[in-house]
């Protein structure tokens, strides 16, 4: 089990940045990655989950309860012992049924002992970790809805098959898809916090580097991991610093005004844009080790926080990134 190291991914800086922000503050609300296949989307997400320090959970808890939450899950977990487990990374397959995602009646128990017991699904498994959905644009709408609901509320509420269960499910939702194969409905898109566009680098050197690193990784994953361990450790430290700093980062009023003016200039629909810009800017400041949010943080996160919220104008050929850059130039000069 040797994952490709996070820092060994060539280029794709914006995607890596968005993932780091989401890792610092999961409340940002998920990352949507647009791009072709084979651009390192899932590699990056998996790699990030793999380098994060293990979480502490109540021993044997099927819902991954943190020790402070012990006993709050439907089981409920009673063990006094705790155990370390790796940060969960759940890869939701396209064909997953509702049962598998939200959980269902434990058939085995029901058959054997006539006992009504809840069998946790993928959402419970992803608690305190990452939920990755490839080709989210091909997923059935009702599932996407459900996932976004749970991601936003941090709680999975099951009311079906005579079961009435609720349990915590806090995770970073990462969706990916290629807009050329069908689009996600704008209402659903809007509920993602950040969105980034990825493309394989178009320069010769970068491509050679990709091939070289893949080959080294394949030949000797362990040695390749060692080579990048220091760089990965640095990223882990940055995330840890960001997380501990986040609650104390101050947000001055003028930055709030900046964010609002920017959203107005972009004609971003709804209030989510402003909120996400603020959250992401705070996370960005925390990640950089700053004490207060500054305008540069807002500018740094604006494209990924707003790109997918711009109203689509069929006759305007300009890409959304350009429109945001234009708005930034307009508002901040």
């Amino acid at each position: 089990m040797n994952r490709f190291p996070f820092s060994a991914i060539v280029a794709q800086d914006e995607m890596k940045q968005a993932l780091l922000l989401a890792a610092v503050d999961p409340a940002i609300g998920g990352v949507m990655v647009f791009g072709d296949r084979g651009t390192g989307k899932s590699t990056a997400a998996r790699a990030l989950a793999a380098i994060l320090p293990p979480i502490t959970a109540v021993e044997g808890c099927r819902f991954g309860c943190a020790p402070t939450d012990a006993g709050t899950c439907p089981d409920p977990c009673t063990s006094k012992k705790t155990a370390k487990r790796a940060v969960p990374f759940v890869d939701l397959p396209l064909g997953a049924t509702e049962d598998r995602v939200i959980g269902a009646l434990d058939l085995e128990r029901a058959l054997r002992s006539g006992e009504k017991r809840f069998e946790p699904g993928l959402l419970a498994k992803a608690h305190r970790g990452f939920l990755y959905i490839d080709e989210i644009n091909l997923l059935e709408d009702h599932l996407v809805n459900l996932l976004l609901d749970v991601a936003a509320s941090g709680e999975n509420l099951v009311e079906r098959e005579g079961l009435s269960v609720r349990h915590k499910a806090k995770f970073v939702l990462i969706g990916s898809g290629n807009p050329e194969e069908g689009e996600l409905r704008p209402q659903l898109l809007d509920r993602f916090g950040l969105s980034v566009e990825v493309r394989t680098p178009q320069t010769l050197d970068a491509r050679v580097e990709i091939m070289r690193r893949c080959a080294s990784h394949e030949r000797d994953p362990a040695a390749f991991g060692e080579d990048w361990a220091a760089a990965d450790a640095k990223i882990v430290r940055r995330i840890a610093r960001g997380r501990s700093r986040l609650p104390t980062v101050e947000t001055p009023d003028e930055v709030l005004y900046d964010a609002s003016r920017l959203c107005m200039a972009c004609k971003a629909d709804g209030l989510r844009g402003e909120l996400t810009v603020m959250r992401a800017a705070r996370a960005q400041a925390a990640l950089e080790g700053a004490d207060t949010v500054k305008r540069k943080h807002v500018i740094a996160v604006a494209p990924m926080a707003l790109r997918h919220r711009l109203r689509r104008d069929v006759l305007d050929e300009t890409g959304s990134t350009t429109r945001i850059e234009r708005a930034v130039a307009e508002v901040f000069g």
Binding site: L94, L107, L111, R199, V314
Partner: protein, 562 residues
């Protein structure tokens, strides 16, 4: 070492087969197109050394992932677990017949297993693709994850039984690594062909090494790089390299076997000791190996299947279509009761309900157990725009036609329709936009639509006719919208005789009428003339003269007709 197989295509297929056998988990698999006996021979050869497992295209998710076997559990009175197909397939080679029919959801699960972090847990995948049309291909998520693609067409078996399969390597480190120049050359090929996937890059480098290893060498030579470019990069090409070879724009739909793939391939043997590989030559070799019809397939919707199974080309229907898993709900609003699923949902609860309650005998079925059937039906309508982009009067109208297509597309997801765009100008017609609801693609296709040249009306009409009948076969209802001034001046054979051109156009128009395709002809010449009306009557389509059409009025007219 091996008896030389008959054709270069078969030779490449044999090489791909041997490279794949070296490290099945690393290469992911093979995509074998064409239902001929050559393919069967190849599969049989593979089966003689490794364990093959067949995966039917209709396998359900329970069988795929395993779990509790309900029937056996009930009979035995204890829970009986059944292993899943994906689990059983570990370390084997999975054969996927009818790969072009694999659904996106099955492909998703299989793709996930192919991506497993631990290569020992993975399996090799052989996609047996019987697709006849360009756009009938296996899901992209699978073709992306298998290294090699070979089109064997209907070729006769060609010495595959004599192909010597190497034993799997103990460690991937035994595969030689490309030199820096070699990697650079492969990167240059990938850029020139517009191959943008990191996986393709990885496969290409690996394939070059495998080719060297199979030849018993420790260093990767130019011939190995050329083989990698042919086998891995060429089938993934999305564009032709900058100086386009002239023999590549033939549009016959059925893909013939790539016979001329070696014609321009630099002779491998002579160049082996040149030292530094020449990227230009590699690009040329790879371009020559691009399967004929591939680029047309791209134009005709590389992503057709993805798009088809995606955001809205399909919709749920309570009454007809492909059956889907039953869902909880009451049988009303046209939905029908799914009896078996209802019973299945109720059965596990019987012990509990009996313990809880009343003295009734028999099954206790509650409202929560009730399941209804669901089906997936193809969406109903596709509007095909055929735009006259010739140099005549239509030229000034091109912008308006573009605008109208975009306006309609914007409404597409409300009205559940799709839009396709055919343009004809110069000497031929072109399918610029296969049926789609993707704004991104539509906008790009439209912005690239050039104007000027002659009016090959006949070619345009016959392409629309082919497209329309194809769509009807697949369960769509096409509506043709022809924007022209009706003055065709290029005949089907490319001649400029106006009389022949008109005759051909009328013939094509009558073919459309015979096929029973509904349509409307919009006359966009500044002064309406009889020609366009004549075409309309040949097509048995409505004729709308629209001398002052703007994008908005056009879309209103079409909207009123649909």
């Amino acid at each position: 070492m091996t008896t030389p197989p008959a054709s270069p295509a078969a030779e490449d297929a044999a090489l791909a087969l041997r490279a794949f056998a070296l490290w099945p988990a690393g290469f992911g698999g093979l995509w074998l197109r064409g239902p001929g006996p050559a393919r069967d021979a190849l599969v049989e050869r593979l089966g003689s050394t490794v364990r093959l497992k067949r995966m039917p295209a209709h396998i359900d998710s329970e069988r795929l992932h395993g779990g509790i076997d309900l029937a056996a559990s009930l009979a035995a009175g204890r829970s009986v677990l059944r292993s899943g197909f994906l689990e059983e397939a570990r370390g084997a080679i999975v054969l996927a017949p009818l790969a072009e029919r694999i659904t996106a959801s099955l492909a998703g699960s299989v793709a996930q297993a192919l991506d497993h972090a631990d290569t020992a847990e993975r399996f090799g995948l052989v996609l047996l693709d019987d697709g006849a049309e360009h756009d009938e291909v296996p899901p992209l998520s699978l073709t992306e994850r298998v290294a090699f693609a070979c089109d064997l067409g209907n070729a006769a078996p060609a010495g595959f039984d004599a192909t010597e399969l190497p034993a799997p390597l103990a460690s991937p480190a035994e595969i030689p690594v490309c030199s820096a120049e070699g990697l650079e050359a492969l990167a240059a090929v990938s850029l020139a062909l517009g191959v943008d996937s990191g996986r393709a890059l990885r496969f290409a480098a690996l394939a070059a090494g495998a080719s060297a290893r199979l030849a018993g060498r420790e260093t990767v030579r130019e011939s190995d790089l050329a083989a990698a470019a042919r086998l891995v990069l060429a089938p993934r090409a999305t564009r032709l390299p900058p100086p386009p070879p002239e023999d590549n724009a033939e549009p016959p739909p059925p893909p013939p076997p790539p016979q001329d793939s070696d014609a321009d391939t630099p002779g491998d043997e002579e160049q082996e000791d040149n030292g530094k590989p020449d990227p230009d030559q590699l690009i040329e070799a790879a371009a020559a190996a691009i399967p004929p019809g591939l680029l047309e397939a791209l134009a005709a919707g590389r992503t057709r299947r993805g798009a088809g199974s995606g955001g809205g080309a399909r919709h749920l229907s309570p009454l007809r279509g492909r059956p889907l898993a039953a869902r909880q709900g009451l049988p009303r609003g046209g939905a029908r009761l799914a009896l078996i699923d209802t019973l299945r949902a109720a059965v596990p609860w019987q012990a509990l309900r009996r313990a809880e309650g009343d003295a009734l005998t028999g099954l206790r079925i509650m409202k929560d157990d009730v399941r209804v059937r669901r089906f997936e039906a193809r969406s109903a309508s596709v509007t095909i725009f055929a735009v006259d982009a010739s140099g005549s009067a239509a030229f000034t109208r091109l912008a308006e036609a573009k605008g109208a297509v975009e306006l309609l597309l914007a409404q597409a997801y409300v009205k559940r329709t799709e839009v396709a765009l055919v343009a004809f100008r110069g000497s031929e017609a072109q399918l610029l936009l296969p049926p789609t609801r993707s704004l991104t693609r539509a906008r790009r296709a439209l912005s690239e639509l050039p104007g000027g040249g002659g009016t090959p009306l006949a070619a345009g009409l016959s392409m629309v006719c082919t497209l329309g009948t194809g769509l009807t076969r697949r369960g769509y209802t096409p509506l043709l919208v022809l924007l022209t001034d009706g003055r065709g001046n290029i005949a089907l054979d490319g001649g400029t005789n106006r009389a022949t051109a008109t005759e051909d156009a009328m013939k094509a128009g009558r073919a459309i009428a015979t096929a029973g395709l509904a349509g409307v002809v919009i006359d966009i010449s500044p002064r309406p003339r009889p020609e366009a009306a004549a075409i309309a009557s040949a097509m048995r389509a409505r004729y709308v003269p629209l001398p002052q059409a703007s994008a908005a009025t056009l879309s209103k007219v079409i909207g009123a007709l649909t």
